[in-house]
């Protein structure tokens, strides 16, 4: 019976995952999976012979409170970070479980396979933990988004790995618990070391990969406790997470290896900022923007991460409406990786009730640009950076972009010349047909709206 209920929850996970893959069913899918989880948990509480209930219940309560609190107060723009945190906690949970198993049992007495799986869930769990939190820190801006690379890094990582494996072998050999803790510690360090050299812009990919890891950690914990629900759930996430990761890298047209080992996604910020201030740009005021927009026939709005930061979606909608009342056609060019999470822009603009027909994706919008009079770039940078097209030495070279420089006039609204997430300079800003309007996107839009009245 117990087992059948576990199986049922496993099925719920499968169905949930499948439904999560398509927009219409996604939400129900998430809920189905949640129900499956609830069932599994209840079964576990009934099945496992629990001595210290207080600990368990207390843990559940505390965890629930933290989880709910975290999930509800996080802003849309901070979601990826949040997922990173949750994922890291899941990872460490598996590691801790393994640790308890070590404390409670005599390692040298355990059958080899159990020891092995204990080591695996410790290793993978710990790596997931620290790795996820580094990813969080990078996304949150607690540490710079740029790849942190230093001399002898490879060597260090290699030796760390050797130590970890060595420790593992030792534990397998003479079940010495002390060595086990060494392994755990090293694993934590490995997690940090493998993520810091990866650029902030690639963190979502990293998180997705670590997510797959936490699945594997759970599965190994399943082997330790001989629980199929764990094995199934873990294996599911392990595999699904991997596929998803690969799909993500494809969306940024990169390979997984390239993401992990190329130190891309933070670009060469130093030289970037070096050039920046030097070259001259055409500055624009609200009035300039209003005139350019007011007398255009067609306007293409390119929203980016900055729009999210400024929470300027409603202001954008207002300005667009005003322009349309003047008989100007307005469209929005939504880049697949604009913002900080896929669909970021769709979510924001949907929130402001922007008509769905006006949202164009890469394939639709780019061809229209040459016939577009004015392109209004709101806090976007990398996704309109021509060096992805022209400069084969650029770290984002090959990433599909909006070729806005082919449009009539380009108005860029951002607060400064500072780079976007890829951390690289943007030649677009120095073009003759580019006007730089330095301001917070929201303020800029509101002032332009005012100025538009007198145009």
């Amino acid at each position: 019976m117990i087992e059948l209920l576990y199986l049922a929850s496993a099925v719920a996970f499968i169905v949930g995952l499948k439904r999560l893959g398509s927009p219409k069913t996604a939400r129900s899918g998430n809920r189905i999976a949640a129900v499956g989880m609830a069932v599994a948990l209840v079964v576990a509480l009934v099945d496992a012979d629990i001595f210290n209930w207080t600990t368990v219940v207390a843990g559940l309560v505390v965890g629930t409170i933290i989880g709910v609190w975290g999930a509800l107060r996080v802003q849309m723009t901070a979601m990826p970070q949040m997922v990173a945190v949750f994922n890291g906690l899941g990872g460490i949970a598996s590691a801790l479980v393994a640790a308890v198993a070590v404390l409670e049992s005599d390692l040298s007495a355990l059958p080899a396979q159990t020891t092995l799986t204990i080591l695996l869930s410790t290793l993978i769990g710990a790596v997931t933990f620290t790795g996820s939190f580094v990813a969080f820190a990078k996304l949150q801006g607690l540490i710079g988004g740029n790849p942190i690379i230093f001399r002898g890094q490879q060597v260090l990582n290699a030796s760390l790995l050797v130590v970890a494996i060595g420790a593992g072998v030792l534990v397998m050999a003479d079940g010495n618990p002390d060595v086990y803790w060494v392994l755990g510690a090293v694993a934590l360090i490995i997690g940090v070391m493998t993520v810091i050299p990866i650029g902030g812009a690639d963190m979502p990919v990293v998180i997705s990969l670590l997510n797959s890891f936490s699945g594997l950690a759970a599965a190994s914990a399943g082997f330790v406790f001989e629980n199929n629900a764990l094995i199934i759930g873990g294996a599911l996430v392990g595999a699904a997470g991997l596929i998803l990761t690969i799909q993500m890298t494809r969306a940024m047209n990169r390979s997984l290896a390239n993401v992990l080992f190329s130190g891309f996604g933070g670009g060469d910020a130093i030289t970037g900022s070096g050039e920046m201030s030097t070259k001259p740009v055409k500055r624009a005021t609200a009035e300039d923007a209003a005139i350019a927009l007011g007398y255009a026939d067609s306007v293409m709005v390119v929203p980016g991460y900055g729009l999210a930061v400024a929470q300027a979606q409603h202001a954008t909608r207002k300005l667009a409406t005003a322009l349309e009342e003047r008989g100007i056609t307005v469209h929005y060019a939504i880049h697949p990786v604009a913002g900080r999470m896929p669909g970021h822009m769709n979510v924001l603009l949907a929130e402001a009730d922007v008509p769905y027909e006006q949202l164009l994706d890469l394939e639709q919008a780019d061809p229209q640009l040459p016939q577009t009079d004015v392109v209004l770039i709101l806090g976007a940078n990398d996704v309109v950076n021509p060096s992805a097209r022209d400069d084969s030495s650029s770290p984002i070279y090959g990433m599909p972009i909006f070729n806005v420089d082919r449009a009539g006039t380009v108005i860029v609204v951002k607060r400064s010349l500072s780079p976007g997430f890829a951390g690289i300079d943007n030649p677009l800003f120095y073009n003759d047909n580019t006007l730089m309007y330095f301001a917070d996107a929201k303020d800029a839009l509101e002032q332009t709206l005012v100025a538009l009245r007198d145009v």
Binding site: I66, G90, I92, S208, A239, L359
Partner: protein, 104 residues
């Protein structure tokens, strides 16, 4: 048939399901899907309660407690945050997304 073998069999099959079940997903759904999958990986909470339950030494009990807390955060927070994300996809958003795969 040993428990280990059963485990391996189940693992392999589940992995196949995982691989196959994720077909082409529109980019708009990458983050929610990742988040949902992450919540599922919180299944380790089952092991956590078991572990916390059998903790005899103080250390074991503390670690067990922490395991339950962290796993629960992962589960509860994970599903909630996913739901919040998906909530943002009103019809237009959804329509757009469902169109996406065709577009690429």
């Amino acid at each position: 048939m040993s428990v280990l073998i059963v485990g391996i069999t189940v693992f392999v099959l589940a992995a196949f399901v995982g691989f196959e079940v994720i077909s082409k997903v529109p980019p708009t759904l990458h983050t929610p899907l990742m988040s949902g999958a992450n919540a599922i990986s919180g299944i380790t909470v089952i092991a956590a309660v078991t572990a916390a339950g059998l903790g005899s030494t103080a250390v074991a009990e503390v670690l067990g407690f922490l395991a339950v807390v962290t796993a629960t955060v992962n589960v509860v927070g994970g599903f909630l945050v996913t739901d919040r994300m998906l909530q943002m996809f009103r019809r237009p958003g959804a329509k757009d997304a469902s169109k996406d795969p065709g577009a690429r």
